[in-house]
Structure formats: C-alpha cells, structure tokens
C-alpha cells in the first residue's frame, strides 16, 4: 500500500511570492500605462487616464489626510479612555465601557452619516465663525470608532502585562504612577503596535465611505471621471486603478504588521 507524503503546507514559504507578484503586477500595469502615453498618444482610454491622473492623485491625498488625522485624534482620545476602562471607580468604568461598546458596534457608514448630518456646518466661537467642512466631519466620524478601538487595544495591552511585575516594582518602592510610566507603558507600546496598525489600515479603507457623503475623495473622483469620459473601457480602468491604489497603500502596512506580530509574539 502506497503511503502518500503527509503534507503540511509550508505557509510562510509560499505566502510571499504570491503577494509580491501582485504588488509587482500593479506597479508594472501603472508603468506600462505611463510609457504607452509618453511614446505615442493614440490610445484614447489611456490618454484619459493620464489626464485624470493628477486629480486622482490629489484625491488619494485627501483620503490619506483624512485617515492620518482620524487615527491621530482617535489615538489621543483612545489613550485617554483606555486607562479609564481599568479605573478603580465603578461609575467611570461603566460609562467608558458604554462609549467603547457603542462606537465599536456601530456600522462605520452609519457613524459617518451621523457625523455628517448631525454636526453643524459651522461653529461660532464669539465673533468668529469657524467653518466645519464635510471632510472634517468624516474625519470625526472615523475618529470616534478609532478612539473606542484604541481604548480597547490599550486596555488589552495593560492587562496582558503579568500582574507580578506590578507587585515586584511596588516592592522596589516604585509608586503606582512610576510603575505605570517606567515599567508597564514601554511594554504596552510594543504590544499595541500591531493591532494599532491594523486599525490604521482599516480606517484608511473606511475613508472611501467619504465619497457617499459628498467629499471629493478618490472614489468620488473616479466616479466623476468615469461619468465625464463616458467610455466603458475607461470605467473599467479607472475603478480598478482606484482598487490598485488602495492596495498599494494598505498592503505594505499589513505586511509590516504581520512581521511585527511575529517578532513580538514570544517576548
């Protein structure tokens, strides 16, 4: 009786080439388009894509700006809320838990509609009237769930540090604040980094929802371009370009996250 080899997949060895090929393919496609135009401009679709390339690039920058601002605000708020989840006061714990649960369980699109329609379009502080543009409302809509997630990540990180370290440090006459700042926090940063980067990637992908509330982001620009040019092949090209651009931005983040996860897994 022939026994076949008991084959366990060599997941890591195989995962890399496939992914690399994809990145190279997307890059090559873009380069090819570019060259085609530069050499002789006869292909109407590609010419249209090059004409629209600056607007698409600017629009992508809008997405990136929104995502960066949202993660910054969300991280600041989350780092304040995280320790409150472990507060010795029961009321504080309960209120923070409600906030975190509410914004982690609400659909992102609903939160974006919420921040767009419920917040005013301008705020008057004294005599000054500050405009409150749509893109900033979307940023807040993304920062709210981000803050809830960062709070949860931070709480998890604090709790993952063995309690014995607290006791040991206290026995060496460190104060509670000192233990937190000098011993617990540095270890937390390491543990929080991979999930925080995952969060950033998912917020970046969430920025595409801004197009639904009238922010001129990448997806919105692609729609405008496809309606203006009104050619079937251009529509195909422009939407898959958008897909490719998001992939090129998000995929490296995912890879670095995975590498960090592996490195921090056993220490």
């Amino acid at each position: 009786m022939a026994t076949e080899q008991l084959s366990l997949p060599l997941a890591n060895a195989r995962r890399q080439p496939g992914a690399m090929i994809t990145v190279i393919a997307v890059g090559a496609l873009l380069a090819l388009c570019e060259r085609e135009i530069v050499s002789h401009a006869h292909n109407v679709t590609l010419v249209a894509l090059v004409t629209w390339a600056p607007s698409l690039g600017k629009a992508l920058w809008v997405n990136i700006e929104i995502s960066l601002l949202a993660i910054a605000l969300g991280t600041l708020a989350g780092l304040t809320l995280g320790p409150l989840l472990l507060s010795p006061l029961r009321v504080v714990r309960a209120v923070t838990r409600c906030y975190v649960q509410l914004f982690r369980n609400a659909p992102l699109l609903v939160l974006i509609y919420f921040s767009t329609y419920v917040f005013p379009f301008e705020i008057s502080i004294g005599h000054h009237i500050l405009p409150f543009p749509d893109w900033f409302k979307v940023t807040l809509g993304l920062a709210l769930p981000a803050s809830a997630n960062v709070a949860e990540i931070f709480r998890g990180a604090i709790q993952s540090i063995p309690h014995a370290q607290w006791d040991a440090a206290r026995s060496l006459a460190f104060g509670r604040a000192q233990v937190f700042r000098l011993i617990i926090l540095p270890q937390c940063v390491k543990r929080m980094l991979p999930p925080w980067m995952n969060l950033y990637a998912s917020i970046t992908m969430g920025t595409s929802l801004a197009s639904l509330v009238g922010v001129h982001d990448l997806l919105d620009t692609a729609q405008v371009a496809s309606n203006t040019v009104a050619r079937a092949d251009f529509t195909v090209l422009v939407y898959f370009t958008v897909l490719g651009l998001f992939f090129v931005y998000c995929y490296p983040i995912a890879r670095i996250t995975r590498r960090l996860e592996k490195r921090y897994a056993f220490n």
Binding site: S7, P9, T22, Y239, F246
Partner: protein, 247 residues
C-alpha cells in the same frame, strides 16, 4: 386605547426633542420595517455564502498544491487590503456593466444590486473566515494527522473529517467577530440602492430632517443584531466544545 399608545409615545418623545412622527405615517413606517427586513435577509444570505466561500478558500490556502494555494492567497490579500465599497463599485459599476453589455441580446442582466452586494460582501468576509480557518487547520497537531493517516484517511478525508471540524472550534470566536462585522458591513449595500435599513432611513430623513432620531433606531437595531450573534456564538461554543481541545 391600542390606537392611543404609539401616539402617546411619539408625543412624549417629542417633548424631549425627538421627532418620531414618521412612525405614525403608515407608508414611512412600512418602508422602515421593510428596510429592517431587507437588512436581515441580506445578513442571513451573505453570512451563509461567506461561510461557504471561507471553507473553500481555507481548503485552497492549506492545499499543498501551489496552483490552488497561490491564487487563493492572492485573492485573500487583495480582498483584505482594499476597501469593500471600492470592491462593490468595481463589481456593480464595472462587472455589472460588462455583463449587461454581454447579455443584452439574451434578455438582460439577471443580477440585481442585492445579489451583487451578497457576492461582494460574502467573498470579502469569506477571505477573513478563510484566514481564521487556516490558522485553525494549521493548529491541528501533527500527531493527530499521522494517526488519521495510519488509519487510512486520505488527504480529503483528513481535511473534511478532522482538520475542518477542529479548525471550526479553534476559529469560532474569530468567526463570530467576522459575522458581527459582516452584519455591520451590509450597510454599504445602501450605496448601490439596495433598500436596506440605512437606505430606508436616508429616504425618511431627507423628507423629515430627523437624522438623530433615525440614527438612534438604527444603532439599536444593529446593537440587537450584534447581541443575538454574540449569544448564538457563545451557545455554539459551549455546544461544540470538546473536552481537552482548544479553549
């Protein structure tokens, strides 16, 4: 008396500044309830197909054959690292357009926005299920597999009767999380005019300007769905628990 109760409730909420008068208008109430049913239907159908997609992708990912594993890996990476809304637009605005052009002589395109939403969200979440199941499949101890092989199990039998049942138990908490995400993700179907609860609400608040009130209802609705899924997940976990294996 039964007529008076909703009116009294609406009046009471009106006093604290919440305008729920749409509940009293028969057509708007009907459209909101219909929206909730569409969301439920979309969630159930998508969840079902996402599990099928997840199992198939996981089987491909863990296959020793590169011809199966590599395309699955590329698909999973692209799906996980691009926004679902962009995928939905690529599918509905691009593939659907091409399909309509191709099928023009054959009596039109049979795929509705609802079906496209199911396809895109099911495949998207299927990729996440597949990653969870793959981790579960790789966590099955080698000794167990060798024992099965010595009993004459083929590779396919090992996968279906050993690795997948064990991987399911291992991955169950992640799968439940994915299902919660899936239900939340069905809201993006409103972008291509599927009449789900979000779409129905947009229609109502453009008429009545009562965004906050409808937001509260939507959040309560999704909160209830999430609660039910978490409960079901917990029940399954205790139900499927094998003493001495997994968590």
């Amino acid at each position: 008396m039964s007529q008076g109760l909703p009116e009294a409730a609406v009046a009471a909420l009106n006093k604290i500044g919440l305008n729920y008068s749409f509940v009293l208008a028969a057509d708007e109430r009907a459209s909101f309830i219909h929206g909730m049913l569409v969301t439920l239907e979309l969630s159930v159908v998508t969840a079902f197909f996402s599990l099928i997609a997840g199992v198939l992708l996981a089987a491909m990912l863990t296959s020793p054959r590169a011809a199966l594993a590599r395309p699955a890996r590329i698909f999973v990476e692209i799906t996980r690292n691009t926004p679902t809304l962009v995928q939905l637009f690529c599918a509905f605005l691009v593939l659907n357009m091409l399909l309509s052009q191709a099928l023009r002589e054959l009596g039109g395109n049979p795929l509705t926005p609802f079906i496209w939403s199911v396809i895109v969200i099911a495949l998207h979440k299927g990729a996440f299920h597949a990653e969870a199941l793959r981790a579960g499949i790789e966590a099955v101890p080698r000794a167990t597999l060798e024992a099965a092989q010595s009993l004459g199990y083929s590779r396919r039998q090992r996968l279906w009767e050993l690795q997948l049942p064990l991987a399911l138990r291992f991955a169950l908490p992640t799968l439940v999380n994915n299902m919660v995400d899936l239900v939340k993700m069905t809201t993006i179907a409103s972008a291509i005019a599927v009449g789900d609860v979000t779409y129905a609400s947009i229609m109502i608040w453009t008429q009545r300007d009562n965004v906050l009130e409808l937001m509260i209802l939507i959040l309560l609705f999704f909160g209830a769905l999430t609660f039910v899924i978490n409960r079901a997940g917990r029940w399954l976990e205790t139900r499927l628990r094998m003493p001495g294996y997994g968590h």
